[in-house]
């Protein structure tokens, strides 16, 4: 365990010293820009747009961050021969792989924490401005209080926290997937491209699955069926993680639904790590 944490913290340190967190400036710029542009809209829509943009940006940034960071790890370590010095110590390949993955997760955690804080600060600041303006319009009294309550209901919603956790889970799955790909890939560009392609296919996978299970697709030829079945079994279903959209719109998502999605994500991470380990342990270095 101490070896895994040593590798994990070393990986995080590497990414931090490579200044990957500078992308946060871009994120902050988006949050501020959207808050500024949205200020002309009716308040309900304003918060909506802000939440939508912030969670959307969090989702993209965390996907790009983990995919790029993970895809670089193995090729870079092999090229720099740092891998040899590490594995020549009493460190098993499983410990090495888990350490690297954990390091990426630490990075993801820190990055998402920073983004969430920025987002909540922007949301809170906007809320305060809108409340001040509302109070000025209505003056004190029950009308004003009701209006402020309406503003508060539209702004922050506790469901946003699980939404961020779901984004984390989805990105964690993407990281494990990328690590698995890079355990046999020979260049990081290949890994990144395949990751992005799988990410996109993962969003249309349910269509293939449905057509396959329906057994009466538009094209019942056996080649087509084989293709649909292969797609359904090999590719992940990322659409199931898209309950974030519901939360942005303000719909309630029951706790058991969150639970199932987390469990599914955990399953993906486990399987991808396992397969990645099998590939990696048989790889000639």
């Amino acid at each position: 365990m101490s070896r895994i944490t040593a590798i994990a913290s070393n990986t995080l340190l590497e990414l931090v010293r490579q200044k990957v967190f500078y992308f946060m400036l871009l994120f902050a710029a988006i949050a501020i820009g959207v808050a500024f542009v949205a200020s002309g809209m009716p308040f309900a829509e304003q918060f909506q747009v802000l939440k939508d943009a912030a969670l959307g940006a969090t989702s993209i940034f965390s996907f790009l961050l983990v995919t790029l960071a993970t895809a670089m790890i193995l090729p870079k370590e092999i090229e720099d021969r740092t891998l040899y010095t590490v594995l020549a110590k009493p460190v098993s390949r499983l410990e090495y792989l888990l350490g690297k993955l954990l390091g990426v997760y630490l990075l993801l955690f820190v990055a998402m924490l920073l983004m969430s804080v920025l987002f909540f600060v922007a949301l809170f600041a906007r809320e305060q401005l809108v409340i001040a303006a509302t109070l000025k319009d209505y003056g004190p009294g029950p009308d004003g209080e009701a209006a402020v309550a309406a503003v508060k209901a539209a702004a922050f919603n506790w469901n946003l926290v699980p939404a961020i956790l779901i984004i984390f889970t989805k990105s964690a799955v993407c990281a494990a997937l990328t690590l698995m790909l890079s355990s046999f890939a020979t260049s990081w560009i290949f890994t990144v491209m395949i990751s992005v392609v799988i990410y996109i296919i993962g969003h249309v996978q349910p269509i293939a699955r449905e057509a396959w299970l329906a057994q009466s697709g538009v094209n019942p030829s056996s080649v087509m069926k084989l293709f649909l079945g292969f797609t359904s079994l090999v590719f992940p279903d990322f659409q199931l993680f898209n309950i974030v959209d519901e939360i942005v719109v303000g719909n309630a998502v029951p706790g058991w639904m969150f639970g199932q999605v987390f469990a599914l994500g955990l399953g993906y991470v486990f399987i991808y790590t396992l397969v990645g380990y099998i590939f990696f342990s048989n790889r000639e270095l």
Binding site: S2, K89, P90
Partner: protein
Amino acid sequence: MSEPAISIQHVTKVFPIPFKRERVVAVDDLSLTVEPGQVYGLLGPNGSGKSTTMKIVLGLVTPTAGKTEIFGCDSTRVASREQVGFLPENPYFYKFLTGFETLQFFGKLCGLRAKKRDERARELLALVGLEGAADRRIGGYSKGMLQRIGLAQALVQEPRLLVLDEPTAGVDPAGSREIRDLILGFKARGITVLLCSHLLEQVQEICDRVGILHRGKLISEGRLTDLISIENQTELILENASPELLAEIAATTAASGARLVGQRKPQQNLERYFLDVTGGNQ
């Protein structure tokens, strides 16, 4: 009788070439033994299978056939690496770490406790003469400094065996000499060393025993002195000899039936000259 430090038995490694029917035999039925306390030089031209052999010993590559052991422990097992320190060829470490942090990191990998790790890191930095650069990032180290931090890293868990791949490649003569002295120091402390090199002169200076690999086969092996001394010749080195004396020796030699093969002024070797001139031998 103690166990051998390294035992390689009938090891063969075949690399298939992807998308082709051909295969490359990198190591061909290799057997050799390194006894504890020896400095063993593995020699061979580029592509002779030295690096693959070393990677097999370290468990980085699985042999196609055969078996290797380190102090009796199978190389494919993680535990075998507790006794080994490895210095790869042209080592690169994490550039974003300082020298001190690098040793800390490898100490953690070897399971050293925090206090012990600190002590060990300081001690090793002093040993390889890098105390002054302890807090500088590795990215700014010179070749020689990298090689030295590499040695320190290899020693972090006090292994009984060191595996060094071209330890002086790309290092200037002064640095090279320091590394050579360090290796002789390890030998004095009873550490077994497996050294891979194609710099024959260096091997000659420090190794007890050498093996020569060619196309994956061990073509010659033995004690260095046995391998290179010419049994029926003797060298005489004289100082302030007059031409008359030399003529007399030549005549006596001919009279005794022996043959004078050559007569020349001994030359200082270039390395020594370089070190004298640059003052690097102090």
